[in-house]
């Protein structure tokens, strides 16, 4: 029986060396392990572009204002309260007193957080002459994308605990913009000390923040270790230690969760979902994400400049079949260009019905009784809002063939794809969007407004329709949310009439979490924050 003997020898060796799994370890400290999907780029959120990096950083830094956990509602952060001038251009932030900084081997803070630190956050990303503008990277991606350089007129320190921000024009989403991760506040005192020591980049590698957790250890591709910061201004976190166990493979993450080597995992493999649902120790949290996957018609190119053609296309494609086949249980068919979890979502709008006969009739009316030829672009990558663009394109192609439209599927390398689509080279192209700040402006204006239809903007339908534009621009300048809601609801009606997109689906984020985790809340932005989470 050599086989059995060697197997049992292996078992003995393995058992001898086997490590205690989490729950078997007697320990008074509460340690939560999160199996994250990758390594952060660095510890400066101002230049980060990936969710992975934001997750690693949002535990460390505080922001002027925050999003309430699990929602897109803006709540006080480092600023206890704020005043907005009547014309909506001056924001005065009143900062919290006694906010403590973390410390590390390089730096022991001598003062609490004050207005200088807030100014440092703005100026580092804004002013090219700032000594930190180019440190680590000069690509302050989100700061630029949210239009801050154009929007900001001045940022002034009124006193140690008051900051006045003046804008060039009223901007209703401004507060939401400041709650985003790129606006994480770093210590100016630390930055000055490191600049003096000739090692400014340390500020972004060995971070000092004022958030609920401080960084203890980071080993690339292996582990990020945090400890709860006892002096955190919001009170100490319920867990004592937070560990990011970096695990890039989704099936391995699931194996670790199953075995109890971690408590929370992101991005499960769709193929594992059935098994995950059957596991008694694990719950799957679900929520439609703040995203949309769509097929954009290039409204400046024939035949898609005719609204009848666009409507006909919308009726020719069987959305339910597409979502069922490609998203499985992780997507809901999309009706509007904003997700149903976002405020101002218009629930009264009905989707275009799947009706190939009506579509054919409409197409004939538009002068294409025998259909036409077009391209159909499919993204080369998998995205949360579109797990398989090629498959979707194939299903669409088959549906369109039924009304005589011959679609040729095209694809390019991802960077190239986006560049060409933004330049408007396509007739029909799939793309999608994940919201940044929870504001409808971030979808309706960014993706469908006239200014982003120009040049290489993100409005790849090149849709510029004045009645829609007027509503969206007005909503941007009004600060009353009820009024904004009305404007956006009307804008969605126009969107549906004009049909610049075939809205495909909103993906549902699925988060397998072990049963002993208490009060983990799904973030609409897909972030993973662990302040407020407890363990049984």
């Amino acid at each position: 029986m050599p086989h059995i003997r060697s197997l049992s020898a292996f078992a003995v060796t393995a058992a001898l060396f086997s490590t205690p799994i989490l729950f078997a370890t007697p320990s008074s400290a509460k340690t939560l392990v999160y199996c994250s999907e990758g390594s952060p780029e660095n510890f400066y959120p101002g230049i980060n572009t990936t969710g992975t990096s934001f997750d690693a950083n949002s535990q460390i830094y505080s922001r002027v204002v925050d999003f309430e956990r699990g929602t897109t509602k803006v709540i006080p952060g480092l600023a206890e309260k704020w005043d907005i001038s009547a014309d909506g251009t001056v924001y005065t932030f009143h900062l919290r007193k006694g906010v403590k900084w973390h410390s590390n081997a390089n730096f022991k803070p001598t003062r609490d957080l004050n207005a200088d630190d807030i100014l440092f956050m703005f100026e580092r990303q804004w002013k090219e002459s700032h000594p930190y503008f180019k440190v680590t990277s000069s690509n302050h991606s989100y700061f630029n994308d949210m239009g801050m350089p154009k929007l900001l007129k001045s940022v002034e320190k009124v006193d140690d605990y008051t900051v006045k921000v003046t804008l060039n024009a009223p901007e209703a989403p401004f507060l939401s913009d400041l709650a985003m991760e790129y606006a994480g506040v770093q210590s100016k005192e630390y930055a000055d000390a490191m600049l003096k020591a000739g090692t400014p980049e340390k500020v972004d590698q060995e971070p000092i923040g004022s958030g609920p957790f401080y960084l203890v250890q980071y080993q690339k591709d292996a582990i990020i270790r945090y400890k709860a910061f006892p002096q955190f201004w919001g009170g100490k976190a319920k867990i004592d230690d937070l560990i990011f166990s970096i695990t890039p493979d989704a099936s391995v993450r699931w194996a670790k969760l199953q075995k109890g080597e971690c408590h929370v995992m992101p991005y499960p493999n769709p193929a594992d979902l059935d098994a995950i649902r059957k596991d008694a120790n694990v719950t799957i949290l679900e929520q439609p994400g703040l995203n949309i996957g769509y097929l954009a018609y290039n409204t400046t190119k024939k035949p898609f400049d005719d609204v009848r053609v666009r409507k006909a296309m919308n009726m020719a494609m069987n959305k339910k079949a597409i979502v069922d086949a490609v998203f499985l249980s992780s997507g809901v068919p999309a009706i509007n260009p904003i997700p149903p979890t976002m405020w101002s979502y218009n629930t009264s709008i009905k989707d275009d019905p799947y009706d190939p006969d009506a579509a054919k009739k409409l197409l004939a009316e538009a002068g294409f009784p025998n259909g036409f030829e077009t391209d159909l672009w499919a993204m080369p990558v998998q995205r949360p809002y579109n797990p398989n663009a090629k498959r979707i394109a194939e299903l669409m192609q088959a549906d369109l063939a039924k009304i005589g439209v011959k679609a040729e599927i095209k694809s390019f390398e991802w960077g190239e794809y986006r560049k060409r689509a933004q330049a408007g080279e396509h007739q029909m192209a799939q793309l999608g969007w994940t919201g940044d700040n929870g504001d409808p402006d971030n979808f309706l204006n960014t993706l469908l407004g006239c200014s982003s239809a120009k040049g290489n903007g993100s409005n790849i339908a090149k849709f510029c329709y004045q009645p829609f534009e007027d509503l969206v621009l007005k909503a941007k300048s009004v600060s009353d949310q009820a009024e904004r809601t009305k404007l956006y609801e009307q804008a969605q009606v126009i969107f549906k009439e004009q049909a610049p997109w075939f809205t495909i689906a909103h993906s549902v984020q699925l988060k397998p979490v072990r049963k002993e985790v208490v009060d983990f809340k799904l973030s609409p932005f897909g972030r993973h924050t662990f302040y407020g989470v407890d363990l049984k």
């Binding site: 490590t19 780029e41 660095n42 690509n139 591709d221 493979d249 960077g415």
Partner: protein, 336 residues
Amino acid sequence: MLRFLFTRVSLVIPTFIGITLLVFVLIRLIPGDPIETMAGERGIDPKEHARLVHEYGFDQPVIVQYGYYILRVIQGDLGRSIVSHKPVIEEFLALFPATVELSICAIAFALLIGIPAGILAAVKRNSIFDQGIMAVSLTGYSMPIFWWGLLLILLFSVQLGWTPVSGRIAVLYFVEAKTGFLLIDTLLAGDIDAFRSAVSHLILPAIVLGTVPLAVIARMTRSAMLEVLGEDYIRTARAKGLSNFRVVTVHAFRNALIPIVTVIGLQVGVLFTGAILTETIFSWPGVGSWLINAIARRDYPVLQGGTLLIGSIIMSINLLVDMTYGLINPRIRHQQ
């Protein structure tokens, strides 16, 4: 011996130029540019794009970029990662010990099982044992690493619960990196539990990574031994009445070693290639997964620097292997 060394070392320079040029040109042939990739989902404003392309020097002709790159490499500067903005050499040195530790364990596993198995197969030629070993080694050689790794995880980690799923050590242990080799660091820290944890984490990845070398070594040992066992001096040794054990281990095995050592040397390259997949499956924080990420992010400096460093290490090891021939077989030494 000196001339032998000199000819070997002189080959290193053209190889070095070849590696740098090939990597430099090849990665620029992959579609997509690093600045676009860096910008992520949202794309980047063309002005900002142009500014960054200029800042990184990607707007210059490839040959000029290559010239600057070589100049910097000669000065020992491999550049900074576009993603983390840390020096490439610093990232490499932090991750390399993990790869070395895994590779050493994998090759040790391959040698400890492969050589005895090969010898036994040769001695008991054409027996069921021989055929069994050869069939198993052929299977091992053909097994896709990715599939094999997941299979072992599912069986030993998830079903039986004998080994941990992935990583280098249980997350509860906090061992300061002195040498970067966890087996040594845990012992230096005097933490036996942490050492056990490190060993248990090594078992599956070492088996997965060692499987292909094991198969190759077992087959090579068998054929080398078969050849030697048919030689006249083996018959003479037997005729002198030496024990079978002594004939096989001392007379036959020593002479069969040259092709075996060559194959082991060649396995270093295989190990690094295999490490890329193995490290990804087992979330092993080594240079393999680092390079894979760099490809996805079009991190040119990391790809160039990492490949160059790994290439240099493989070249040095092969040089060492060539030198050991001299030690194993005096004829090579003297002929040169």
